[in-house]
Protein backbone atom coordinates (compact mmCIF):
# COMPACT_ATOMS: atom_id res chain seq x y z
CA UNK A 1 0.00 0.00 0.00
CA UNK A 2 3.01 2.28 0.09
CA UNK A 3 2.13 3.58 -3.38
CA UNK A 4 -0.76 5.41 -1.76
CA UNK A 5 1.63 7.73 0.03
CA UNK A 6 3.28 8.87 -3.21
CA UNK A 7 2.38 12.44 -4.02
CA UNK A 8 1.29 11.95 -7.62
CA UNK A 9 0.44 15.63 -8.01
CA UNK A 10 4.08 16.57 -7.51
CA UNK A 11 4.81 15.17 -10.96
CA UNK A 12 2.18 17.37 -12.50
CA UNK A 13 3.79 20.34 -14.21
CA UNK A 14 0.66 22.43 -13.91
CA UNK A 15 0.26 21.83 -10.21
CA UNK A 16 -1.62 24.54 -8.38
CA UNK A 17 0.47 26.08 -5.59
CA UNK A 18 -0.90 27.63 -2.40
CA UNK A 19 0.55 31.02 -3.35
CA UNK A 20 -1.46 31.09 -6.54
CA UNK A 21 -4.69 30.76 -4.60
CA UNK A 22 -3.96 33.68 -2.34
CA UNK A 23 -5.90 36.76 -3.34
CA UNK A 24 -3.93 39.95 -2.84
CA UNK A 25 -6.10 42.97 -2.36
CA UNK A 26 -4.10 45.08 -4.82
CA UNK A 27 -2.08 42.39 -6.53
CA UNK A 28 1.16 42.86 -4.60
CA UNK A 29 2.54 41.19 -1.52
CA UNK A 30 3.29 43.56 1.35
CA UNK A 31 6.84 43.68 2.70
CA UNK A 32 6.92 41.77 6.05
CA UNK A 33 8.95 44.46 7.80
CA UNK A 34 6.63 47.21 6.62
CA UNK A 35 3.63 45.18 7.79
CA UNK A 36 5.22 44.78 11.23
CA UNK A 37 5.94 48.51 11.46
CA UNK A 38 2.34 49.28 10.55
CA UNK A 39 1.06 46.99 13.26
CA UNK A 40 3.45 48.51 15.82
CA UNK A 41 2.13 51.99 15.09
CA UNK A 42 -1.36 50.59 15.33
CA UNK A 43 -0.66 49.03 18.73
CA UNK A 44 0.36 52.39 20.21
CA UNK A 45 -2.80 53.96 18.87
CA UNK A 46 -4.95 51.17 20.31
CA UNK A 47 -3.31 51.45 23.75
CA UNK A 48 -3.98 55.19 23.77
CA UNK A 49 -7.62 54.64 22.93
CA UNK A 50 -7.91 52.00 25.66
CA UNK A 51 -6.45 54.33 28.30
CA UNK A 52 -8.85 57.04 27.15
CA UNK A 53 -11.61 54.51 27.82
CA UNK A 54 -12.73 54.32 24.22
CA UNK A 55 -13.02 50.56 23.62
CA UNK A 56 -15.21 50.94 20.54
CA UNK A 57 -12.63 52.85 18.52
CA UNK A 58 -9.87 50.70 19.98
CA UNK A 59 -11.55 47.59 18.60
CA UNK A 60 -12.17 49.14 15.20
CA UNK A 61 -8.57 50.37 14.96
CA UNK A 62 -7.23 47.00 16.08
CA UNK A 63 -9.11 44.95 13.49
CA UNK A 64 -8.80 47.50 10.72
CA UNK A 65 -6.46 46.66 7.83
CA UNK A 66 -5.04 43.34 9.09
CA UNK A 67 -1.55 42.33 7.87
CA UNK A 68 -2.71 39.79 5.28
CA UNK A 69 -0.04 37.96 3.37
CA UNK A 70 1.92 34.74 3.21
CA UNK A 71 5.10 36.00 4.94
CA UNK A 72 3.78 38.38 7.56
CA UNK A 73 3.80 35.97 10.51
CA UNK A 74 5.40 38.39 12.97
CA UNK A 75 2.98 41.18 12.13
CA UNK A 76 0.04 38.80 12.36
CA UNK A 77 1.12 37.61 15.80
CA UNK A 78 1.44 41.12 17.15
CA UNK A 79 -1.88 42.20 15.63
CA UNK A 80 -3.66 39.17 17.12
CA UNK A 81 -2.22 40.05 20.52
CA UNK A 82 -3.55 43.61 20.29
CA UNK A 83 -7.02 42.44 19.31
CA UNK A 84 -7.09 39.98 22.22
CA UNK A 85 -6.12 42.76 24.61
CA UNK A 86 -9.02 44.86 23.37
CA UNK A 87 -11.48 41.96 23.52
CA UNK A 88 -10.44 41.19 27.10
CA UNK A 89 -10.85 44.80 28.16
CA UNK A 90 -14.46 45.10 27.01
CA UNK A 91 -17.20 44.27 29.49
CA UNK A 92 -19.46 41.34 28.63
CA UNK A 93 -22.55 43.54 28.64
CA UNK A 94 -21.03 45.92 26.09
CA UNK A 95 -20.23 43.23 23.54
CA UNK A 96 -23.59 43.02 21.77
CA UNK A 97 -24.15 46.76 21.17
CA UNK A 98 -20.57 47.08 19.99
CA UNK A 99 -20.86 44.26 17.47
CA UNK A 100 -24.04 45.78 16.08
CA UNK A 101 -22.12 48.94 15.22
CA UNK A 102 -19.55 47.06 13.10
CA UNK A 103 -19.90 46.68 9.34
CA UNK A 104 -20.21 43.18 7.84
CA UNK A 105 -16.57 43.35 6.71
CA UNK A 106 -15.45 44.30 10.22
CA UNK A 107 -17.55 41.51 11.71
CA UNK A 108 -15.83 39.03 9.38
CA UNK A 109 -12.39 40.23 10.45
CA UNK A 110 -13.34 40.10 14.11
CA UNK A 111 -14.50 36.52 13.63
CA UNK A 112 -11.14 35.69 12.06
CA UNK A 113 -9.37 36.96 15.17
CA UNK A 114 -11.71 35.04 17.46
CA UNK A 115 -10.89 31.82 15.60
CA UNK A 116 -7.20 32.65 15.63
CA UNK A 117 -7.38 33.30 19.35
CA UNK A 118 -9.10 29.99 19.98
CA UNK A 119 -6.52 28.17 17.88
CA UNK A 120 -3.69 29.51 20.03
CA UNK A 121 -5.35 29.41 23.43
CA UNK A 122 -5.73 26.60 25.93
CA UNK A 123 -2.12 25.88 26.80
CA UNK A 124 -2.01 24.41 30.31
CA UNK A 125 0.57 26.92 31.52
CA UNK A 126 -1.59 29.84 30.37
CA UNK A 127 -4.52 28.95 32.57
CA UNK A 128 -5.22 31.41 35.37
CA UNK A 129 -4.89 30.03 38.86
CA UNK A 130 -8.05 30.06 40.92
CA UNK A 131 -7.53 32.00 44.09
CA UNK A 132 -8.94 34.71 46.25
CA UNK A 133 -7.90 37.52 43.94
CA UNK A 134 -9.34 37.53 40.40
CA UNK A 135 -6.79 36.36 37.83
CA UNK A 136 -5.19 39.15 35.82
CA UNK A 137 -6.54 39.54 32.28
CA UNK A 138 -4.38 37.54 29.93
CA UNK A 139 -4.46 37.28 26.15
CA UNK A 140 -6.08 34.29 24.44
CA UNK A 141 -8.69 33.67 27.08
CA UNK A 142 -11.06 31.06 25.63
CA UNK A 143 -13.94 31.95 27.92
CA UNK A 144 -13.91 35.53 26.68
CA UNK A 145 -13.50 34.41 23.09
CA UNK A 146 -16.41 32.01 23.32
CA UNK A 147 -18.56 34.78 24.69
CA UNK A 148 -17.64 37.03 21.76
CA UNK A 149 -18.16 34.16 19.35
CA UNK A 150 -21.66 33.53 20.65
CA UNK A 151 -22.68 37.17 20.36
CA UNK A 152 -21.09 37.64 16.97
CA UNK A 153 -22.77 34.54 15.52
CA UNK A 154 -26.07 35.85 16.84
CA UNK A 155 -25.65 39.00 14.73
CA UNK A 156 -23.63 37.89 11.71
CA UNK A 157 -24.97 34.34 11.36
CA UNK A 158 -23.26 31.19 10.19
CA UNK A 159 -22.33 32.92 6.93
CA UNK A 160 -19.69 34.84 8.86
CA UNK A 161 -18.14 31.61 10.16
CA UNK A 162 -18.17 30.02 6.70
CA UNK A 163 -16.41 33.08 5.27
CA UNK A 164 -13.71 32.89 7.93
CA UNK A 165 -13.10 29.21 7.20
CA UNK A 166 -12.92 29.64 3.43
CA UNK A 167 -10.99 32.89 3.33
CA UNK A 168 -7.33 32.58 2.33
CA UNK A 169 -6.58 35.99 3.78
CA UNK A 170 -5.80 34.71 7.24
CA UNK A 171 -4.97 36.94 10.17
Amino acid sequence: MSFRTIDVDALDEEQLAQEELFVYSDGIEIDPQEALNNVQTKSIEVRNLLTKNNPENALITAINDPPYGLNTTAAKELNAKIVMEVLNSIKATDILPLIKKLSIEQQDILMKYIYRGMAFSGKASDKPKTGASPPPPEPFNSAVLLNWHEKLTEIAGVGCIVRVITDRKTV
Binding site: L16, V23, A156, V158, G159, R163, T166, D167
Partner: protein
Protein backbone atom coordinates in the same frame (compact mmCIF):
# COMPACT_ATOMS: atom_id res chain seq x y z
CA UNK B 1 -51.08 24.62 -10.81
CA UNK B 2 -50.94 27.07 -7.99
CA UNK B 3 -49.17 25.30 -5.19
CA UNK B 4 -45.73 23.94 -4.57
CA UNK B 5 -45.48 20.44 -5.96
CA UNK B 6 -43.28 17.96 -4.11
CA UNK B 7 -42.23 14.59 -5.41
CA UNK B 8 -39.93 12.12 -3.69
CA UNK B 9 -38.13 10.40 -6.57
CA UNK B 10 -35.35 8.74 -4.67
CA UNK B 11 -34.51 7.98 -1.06
CA UNK B 12 -30.93 8.91 -1.76
CA UNK B 13 -29.89 12.15 -3.43
CA UNK B 14 -31.02 13.36 -6.85
CA UNK B 15 -27.74 14.36 -8.44
CA UNK B 16 -29.33 16.52 -11.11
CA UNK B 17 -32.56 16.96 -13.05
CA UNK B 18 -33.80 18.37 -16.38
CA UNK B 19 -37.28 18.75 -17.88
CA UNK B 20 -38.43 18.35 -21.48
CA UNK B 21 -40.12 21.11 -23.42
CA UNK B 22 -43.74 20.70 -22.30
CA UNK B 23 -42.62 19.63 -18.80
CA UNK B 24 -44.36 16.25 -19.07
CA UNK B 25 -41.12 14.34 -18.66
CA UNK B 26 -38.19 14.78 -16.34
CA UNK B 27 -34.74 13.22 -16.49
CA UNK B 28 -33.10 12.62 -13.14
CA UNK B 29 -30.01 10.86 -11.91
CA UNK B 30 -30.66 8.87 -8.72
CA UNK B 31 -27.04 9.23 -7.57
CA UNK B 32 -25.68 6.37 -9.67
CA UNK B 33 -24.67 5.65 -13.27
CA UNK B 34 -28.26 5.66 -14.57
CA UNK B 35 -30.49 8.37 -15.94
CA UNK B 36 -34.20 7.88 -15.29
CA UNK B 37 -36.89 9.51 -17.37
CA UNK B 38 -40.21 9.91 -15.61
CA UNK B 39 -43.48 10.72 -17.33
CA UNK B 40 -46.13 12.84 -15.65
CA UNK B 41 -49.34 10.86 -15.22
CA UNK B 42 -52.72 11.63 -13.70
CA UNK B 43 -51.64 10.33 -10.31
CA UNK B 44 -48.07 11.58 -10.28
CA UNK B 45 -45.01 10.35 -12.14
CA UNK B 46 -44.07 6.97 -13.61
CA UNK B 47 -40.70 5.71 -14.76
CA UNK B 48 -40.73 5.16 -18.54
CA UNK B 49 -37.06 4.92 -19.56
CA UNK B 50 -33.77 4.13 -17.90
CA UNK B 51 -30.71 5.26 -19.82
CA UNK B 52 -27.74 3.06 -18.99
CA UNK B 53 -24.51 3.76 -20.83
CA UNK B 54 -22.28 5.51 -18.33
CA UNK B 55 -20.35 3.34 -15.92
CA UNK B 56 -19.80 5.88 -13.15
CA UNK B 57 -21.91 8.51 -11.42
CA UNK B 58 -23.79 10.77 -13.81
CA UNK B 59 -22.89 14.30 -12.73
CA UNK B 60 -25.06 16.44 -14.96
CA UNK B 61 -27.98 16.25 -17.39
CA UNK B 62 -29.32 18.85 -19.79
CA UNK B 63 -32.32 18.55 -22.09
CA UNK B 64 -32.29 20.53 -25.33
CA UNK B 65 -35.99 21.28 -25.40
CA UNK B 66 -36.37 22.42 -29.02
CA UNK B 67 -34.36 19.65 -30.68
CA UNK B 68 -35.38 17.08 -28.02
CA UNK B 69 -31.89 15.81 -27.31
CA UNK B 70 -30.48 14.94 -23.91
CA UNK B 71 -26.84 15.34 -23.02
CA UNK B 72 -25.42 13.57 -19.99
CA UNK B 73 -21.93 13.60 -18.54
CA UNK B 74 -20.33 11.46 -15.91
CA UNK B 75 -17.37 10.74 -13.72
CA UNK B 76 -16.37 8.09 -16.28
CA UNK B 77 -14.97 11.07 -18.31
CA UNK B 78 -17.55 10.66 -21.06
CA UNK B 79 -20.57 12.48 -22.34
CA UNK B 80 -23.42 11.08 -24.42
CA UNK B 81 -25.98 12.81 -26.57
CA UNK B 82 -29.28 10.89 -26.52
CA UNK B 83 -31.77 11.01 -29.37
CA UNK B 84 -35.23 9.56 -29.18
CA UNK B 85 -35.77 6.87 -31.78
CA UNK B 86 -39.46 6.96 -32.80
CA UNK B 87 -39.36 3.54 -34.48
CA UNK B 88 -38.53 1.47 -31.43
CA UNK B 89 -39.42 4.06 -28.77
CA UNK B 90 -35.98 4.09 -27.19
CA UNK B 91 -33.32 6.69 -26.46
CA UNK B 92 -30.18 6.10 -28.53
CA UNK B 93 -26.81 7.29 -27.18
CA UNK B 94 -24.00 8.86 -29.22
CA UNK B 95 -20.59 9.14 -27.60
CA UNK B 96 -18.97 12.58 -27.57
CA UNK B 97 -15.22 12.87 -27.99
CA UNK B 98 -14.35 14.87 -24.89
CA UNK B 99 -10.66 13.91 -24.51
CA UNK B 100 -10.72 14.43 -20.73
CA UNK B 101 -8.39 12.65 -18.33
CA UNK B 102 -10.56 13.54 -15.32
CA UNK B 103 -14.26 13.38 -14.47
CA UNK B 104 -16.78 15.50 -16.34
CA UNK B 105 -18.63 17.65 -13.82
CA UNK B 106 -21.24 19.80 -15.53
CA UNK B 107 -22.95 20.12 -18.90
CA UNK B 108 -25.19 22.73 -20.52
CA UNK B 109 -26.64 23.21 -24.02
CA UNK B 110 -26.08 26.59 -25.58
CA UNK B 111 -29.28 28.67 -26.00
CA UNK B 112 -29.81 27.75 -29.66
CA UNK B 113 -28.82 24.12 -29.06
CA UNK B 114 -26.08 23.90 -31.70
CA UNK B 115 -23.36 23.43 -29.10
CA UNK B 116 -22.90 22.32 -25.54
CA UNK B 117 -20.15 22.83 -23.02
CA UNK B 118 -18.83 20.16 -20.63
CA UNK B 119 -16.84 21.15 -17.54
CA UNK B 120 -14.32 18.81 -16.01
CA UNK B 121 -11.77 18.10 -13.33
CA UNK B 122 -9.08 18.17 -16.01
CA UNK B 123 -8.81 21.98 -15.73
CA UNK B 124 -10.61 22.48 -18.98
CA UNK B 125 -13.97 22.91 -20.61
CA UNK B 126 -14.92 21.07 -23.78
CA UNK B 127 -17.09 23.05 -26.16
CA UNK B 128 -18.82 20.44 -28.32
CA UNK B 129 -20.42 20.89 -31.73
CA UNK B 130 -21.77 18.50 -34.34
CA UNK B 131 -19.32 17.60 -37.08
CA UNK B 132 -21.49 16.87 -40.16
CA UNK B 133 -18.63 15.39 -42.20
CA UNK B 134 -17.71 12.71 -39.69
CA UNK B 135 -21.19 12.44 -38.19
CA UNK B 136 -20.11 12.81 -34.59
CA UNK B 137 -19.90 15.36 -31.79
CA UNK B 138 -16.48 16.95 -31.79
CA UNK B 139 -14.98 19.17 -29.10
CA UNK B 140 -12.59 22.07 -28.64
CA UNK B 141 -10.95 22.72 -25.29
CA UNK B 142 -10.99 25.95 -23.31
CA UNK B 143 -7.88 25.59 -21.18
CA UNK B 144 -6.15 28.79 -20.22
CA UNK B 145 -6.13 30.14 -17.57
CA UNK B 146 -8.15 27.51 -15.68
CA UNK B 147 -6.16 26.19 -12.71
CA UNK B 148 -8.54 23.71 -11.15
CA UNK B 149 -11.80 21.78 -11.52
CA UNK B 150 -14.60 23.65 -13.25
CA UNK B 151 -17.77 23.26 -11.20
CA UNK B 152 -20.45 25.12 -13.12
CA UNK B 153 -21.19 26.75 -16.44
CA UNK B 154 -23.69 29.18 -17.86
CA UNK B 155 -24.26 30.34 -21.44
CA UNK B 156 -24.81 33.94 -22.43
CA UNK B 157 -27.98 34.45 -24.47
CA UNK B 158 -25.85 35.26 -27.57
CA UNK B 159 -24.73 31.61 -27.82
CA UNK B 160 -21.04 32.66 -27.79
CA UNK B 161 -20.02 33.66 -24.28
CA UNK B 162 -19.65 31.04 -21.60
CA UNK B 163 -19.22 31.65 -17.86
CA UNK B 164 -17.40 29.11 -15.74
CA UNK B 165 -17.19 28.79 -11.96
CA UNK B 166 -14.02 27.15 -10.83
CA UNK B 167 -12.48 25.50 -7.75
CA UNK B 168 -9.48 27.85 -8.00
CA UNK B 169 -11.70 30.58 -6.44
CA UNK B 170 -12.32 32.32 -9.74
CA UNK B 171 -15.14 32.74 -12.18
CA UNK B 172 -14.29 33.42 -15.79
CA UNK B 173 -16.11 34.48 -18.91
CA UNK B 174 -14.83 32.87 -22.11
CA UNK B 175 -15.64 33.12 -25.75
CA UNK B 176 -16.77 29.73 -27.07
CA UNK B 177 -17.05 30.91 -30.67
CA UNK B 178 -16.83 28.01 -33.13
CA UNK B 179 -16.06 28.89 -36.71
CA UNK B 180 -18.60 27.42 -39.09
CA UNK B 181 -21.20 26.92 -36.36
CA UNK B 182 -21.68 30.41 -35.01
CA UNK B 183 -22.54 33.71 -36.59
CA UNK B 184 -20.30 36.65 -35.80
CA UNK B 185 -21.71 38.01 -32.53
CA UNK B 186 -22.89 41.55 -31.89
CA UNK B 187 -20.73 43.53 -29.43
CA UNK B 188 -21.59 43.05 -25.76
CA UNK B 189 -20.33 44.75 -22.60
CA UNK B 190 -18.00 41.74 -22.30
CA UNK B 191 -16.12 42.61 -25.48
CA UNK B 192 -16.59 42.81 -29.24
CA UNK B 193 -13.75 40.75 -30.73
CA UNK B 194 -14.34 37.20 -29.65
CA UNK B 195 -12.16 34.47 -31.18
CA UNK B 196 -12.27 31.09 -29.41
CA UNK B 197 -10.79 31.05 -25.87
CA UNK B 198 -10.79 34.85 -25.43
CA UNK B 199 -10.93 35.49 -21.69
CA UNK B 200 -13.45 38.31 -21.33
CA UNK B 201 -13.15 38.53 -17.59
CA UNK B 202 -11.72 36.84 -14.54
CA UNK B 203 -13.41 37.47 -11.21
CA UNK B 204 -12.65 36.54 -7.64
CA UNK B 205 -14.98 36.79 -4.69
CA UNK B 206 -12.27 38.55 -2.68
CA UNK B 207 -11.12 35.94 -0.22
CA UNK B 208 -11.47 32.36 -1.28
CA UNK B 209 -13.85 29.46 -1.60
CA UNK B 210 -14.82 27.39 -4.61
CA UNK B 211 -17.16 29.10 -7.03
CA UNK B 212 -20.21 26.83 -6.92
CA UNK B 213 -22.45 28.56 -9.39
CA UNK B 214 -22.45 31.21 -12.11
CA UNK B 215 -25.43 32.75 -13.87
CA UNK B 216 -25.71 35.41 -16.55
CA UNK B 217 -28.37 38.04 -16.15
CA UNK B 218 -31.15 37.26 -18.69
CA UNK B 219 -30.00 40.22 -20.79
CA UNK B 220 -26.42 38.97 -20.46
CA UNK B 221 -25.09 42.31 -19.23
CA UNK B 222 -24.09 41.07 -15.80
CA UNK B 223 -22.92 37.89 -14.13
CA UNK B 224 -23.82 36.54 -10.70
CA UNK B 225 -21.37 34.24 -8.97
CA UNK B 226 -21.54 32.48 -5.65
CA UNK B 227 -18.90 30.53 -3.82
CA UNK B 228 -18.29 28.62 -0.64
CA UNK B 229 -17.99 31.89 1.27
CA UNK B 230 -21.78 32.46 1.53
CA UNK B 231 -21.43 35.47 -0.67
CA UNK B 232 -23.11 36.41 -3.93
CA UNK B 233 -21.26 38.79 -6.22
CA UNK B 234 -23.02 40.47 -9.11
CA UNK B 235 -20.56 41.75 -11.69
CA UNK B 236 -21.33 44.40 -14.27
CA UNK B 237 -18.37 44.38 -16.69
CA UNK B 238 -16.49 47.66 -16.64
CA UNK B 239 -18.64 48.95 -13.82
CA UNK B 240 -19.08 48.50 -10.12
CA UNK B 241 -19.78 45.02 -8.80
CA UNK B 242 -22.02 44.26 -5.86
CA UNK B 243 -21.16 41.78 -3.15
CA UNK B 244 -23.89 40.44 -0.89
CA UNK B 245 -22.39 38.88 2.22
CA UNK B 246 -25.15 36.72 3.62
CA UNK B 247 -25.83 35.25 7.05
CA UNK B 248 -26.58 31.89 5.49
CA UNK B 249 -24.71 28.73 4.70
CA UNK B 250 -23.15 28.67 1.20
CA UNK B 251 -25.26 28.47 -1.95
CA UNK B 252 -24.84 25.87 -4.67
CA UNK B 253 -27.15 27.12 -7.39
CA UNK B 254 -28.31 30.45 -8.77
CA UNK B 255 -31.33 31.27 -10.93
CA UNK B 256 -32.40 34.62 -12.36
CA UNK B 257 -36.15 35.19 -12.22
CA UNK B 258 -35.89 38.49 -14.08
CA UNK B 259 -33.45 41.37 -14.37
CA UNK B 260 -34.02 42.45 -10.77
CA UNK B 261 -34.60 39.22 -8.88
CA UNK B 262 -32.22 36.36 -8.21
CA UNK B 263 -32.91 33.09 -6.41
CA UNK B 264 -30.12 31.23 -4.62
CA UNK B 265 -30.29 27.86 -2.86
CA UNK B 266 -27.82 25.55 -1.21
CA UNK B 267 -26.89 24.16 2.18
CA UNK B 268 -29.72 26.00 3.95
CA UNK B 269 -32.27 23.76 2.16
CA UNK B 270 -34.44 26.74 1.16
CA UNK B 271 -34.53 28.94 -1.93
CA UNK B 272 -33.74 32.53 -1.02
CA UNK B 273 -34.68 35.59 -3.05
CA UNK B 274 -32.35 38.54 -3.61
CA UNK B 275 -33.59 41.78 -5.13
CA UNK B 276 -32.16 44.93 -6.59
CA UNK B 277 -33.16 47.99 -4.58
CA UNK B 278 -33.95 51.14 -6.59
CA UNK B 279 -31.58 50.18 -9.41
CA UNK B 280 -28.79 50.36 -6.87
CA UNK B 281 -27.54 47.81 -4.40
CA UNK B 282 -28.55 44.18 -4.18
CA UNK B 283 -30.06 42.88 -1.00
CA UNK B 284 -31.55 39.83 0.67
CA UNK B 285 -35.32 39.89 0.20
CA UNK B 286 -36.97 36.76 1.62
CA UNK B 287 -36.93 33.02 2.05
CA UNK B 288 -39.22 31.40 -0.50
CA UNK B 289 -40.33 28.55 1.70
CA UNK B 290 -43.43 29.31 3.74
CA UNK B 291 -43.19 26.10 5.72
CA UNK B 292 -39.79 27.04 7.12
CA UNK B 293 -41.53 29.57 9.34
CA UNK B 294 -44.26 27.30 10.66
CA UNK B 295 -44.00 25.51 13.97
CA UNK B 296 -44.57 21.79 14.33
CA UNK B 297 -47.87 21.21 12.62
CA UNK B 298 -48.50 17.59 13.46
CA UNK B 299 -47.45 17.53 17.05
CA UNK B 300 -50.55 15.61 18.08
CA UNK B 301 -50.15 12.96 15.42
CA UNK B 302 -46.69 11.66 16.23
CA UNK B 303 -48.09 8.19 16.80
CA UNK B 304 -49.61 8.35 13.35
CA UNK B 305 -46.28 9.46 11.90
CA UNK B 306 -44.46 6.65 13.64
CA UNK B 307 -46.74 3.98 12.15
CA UNK B 308 -46.65 5.66 8.78
CA UNK B 309 -42.86 5.62 8.83
CA UNK B 310 -42.88 1.99 9.90
CA UNK B 311 -45.13 1.20 6.99
CA UNK B 312 -43.54 3.38 4.31
CA UNK B 313 -39.88 3.26 5.14
CA UNK B 314 -39.58 0.23 7.40
CA UNK B 315 -37.99 2.29 10.14
CA UNK B 316 -39.32 3.37 13.48
CA UNK B 317 -38.41 6.83 14.57
CA UNK B 318 -37.76 6.83 18.27
CA UNK B 319 -39.74 9.86 19.31
CA UNK B 320 -41.88 10.77 16.35
CA UNK B 321 -40.50 11.94 13.05
CA UNK B 322 -40.67 15.62 13.95
CA UNK B 323 -37.36 15.52 15.71
CA UNK B 324 -35.35 14.48 12.70
CA UNK B 325 -37.43 16.31 10.15
CA UNK B 326 -36.56 19.83 9.05
CA UNK B 327 -39.36 22.33 8.85
CA UNK B 328 -38.38 23.18 5.31
CA UNK B 329 -39.76 21.45 2.21
CA UNK B 330 -36.35 20.16 1.17
CA UNK B 331 -34.93 17.92 3.85
CA UNK B 332 -31.33 18.35 2.75
CA UNK B 333 -29.06 20.55 0.66
CA UNK B 334 -30.50 21.86 -2.61
CA UNK B 335 -27.99 21.22 -5.38
CA UNK B 336 -29.83 22.36 -8.48
CA UNK B 337 -32.29 25.08 -9.47
CA UNK B 338 -33.84 25.11 -12.95
CA UNK B 339 -36.46 27.26 -14.64
CA UNK B 340 -39.76 25.39 -15.02
CA UNK B 341 -42.23 27.80 -16.54
CA UNK B 342 -41.89 31.18 -18.20
CA UNK B 343 -39.34 32.69 -20.54
CA UNK B 344 -35.77 33.64 -19.61
CA UNK B 345 -36.10 36.97 -17.85
CA UNK B 346 -39.64 36.28 -16.70
CA UNK B 347 -39.82 33.00 -14.82
CA UNK B 348 -43.06 32.08 -13.11
CA UNK B 349 -42.20 28.59 -11.82
CA UNK B 350 -38.90 26.96 -10.98
CA UNK B 351 -37.82 23.50 -9.90
CA UNK B 352 -35.25 22.37 -7.37
CA UNK B 353 -33.68 19.06 -6.45
CA UNK B 354 -31.18 18.04 -3.86
CA UNK B 355 -29.61 15.50 -1.59
CA UNK B 356 -32.95 14.54 -0.04
CA UNK B 357 -34.16 12.92 -3.28
CA UNK B 358 -37.01 15.38 -3.68
CA UNK B 359 -37.93 17.33 -6.75
CA UNK B 360 -39.92 20.44 -5.90
CA UNK B 361 -41.72 22.70 -8.35
CA UNK B 362 -42.23 26.16 -6.89
CA UNK B 363 -44.79 28.67 -8.07
CA UNK B 364 -42.79 31.84 -7.82
CA UNK B 365 -45.68 34.18 -8.62
CA UNK B 366 -47.96 32.79 -5.94
CA UNK B 367 -45.07 32.73 -3.45
CA UNK B 368 -44.45 36.39 -4.24
CA UNK B 369 -48.05 37.41 -3.60
CA UNK B 370 -48.20 35.24 -0.50
CA UNK B 371 -45.28 37.11 1.00
CA UNK B 372 -46.24 40.55 -0.16
CA UNK B 373 -47.86 41.59 3.09
CA UNK B 374 -44.98 40.21 5.10
CA UNK B 375 -42.29 42.35 3.55
CA UNK B 376 -40.18 44.08 6.17
Amino acid sequence: MSQTEIRQFNFGPITTHAFNKDRTQVAICPNNNEVQIHQRTAGGWSLIHTLVEHDKLVTSIDWAVESNQIVTCSQDRNAYVWNFDQTNGKWKPTLVLLRFNRAATFVRWSPNETKFAVASGARCIAVCYFDEVNDWWNSKHLKKPIRSTVLSLDWHSNNILLAAGCADFKARVFSAYIKGVDQRPAPTPWGDKLPFNTVCGEFSNGGGGWIHSVAFLPSGDALAITGHDSQITIIYPGQESYAIKTNNLPFLSLLWVNENQLIAAGYDCVPILFERQNDQSWEFSKILDASSKKKNINESSTAFNRFRDLDARGISSRSGSDETELKTIHQNTITSLRPYNGTPGDISHFSSSGLDGRLVIWNFQSLESQFKGLKV
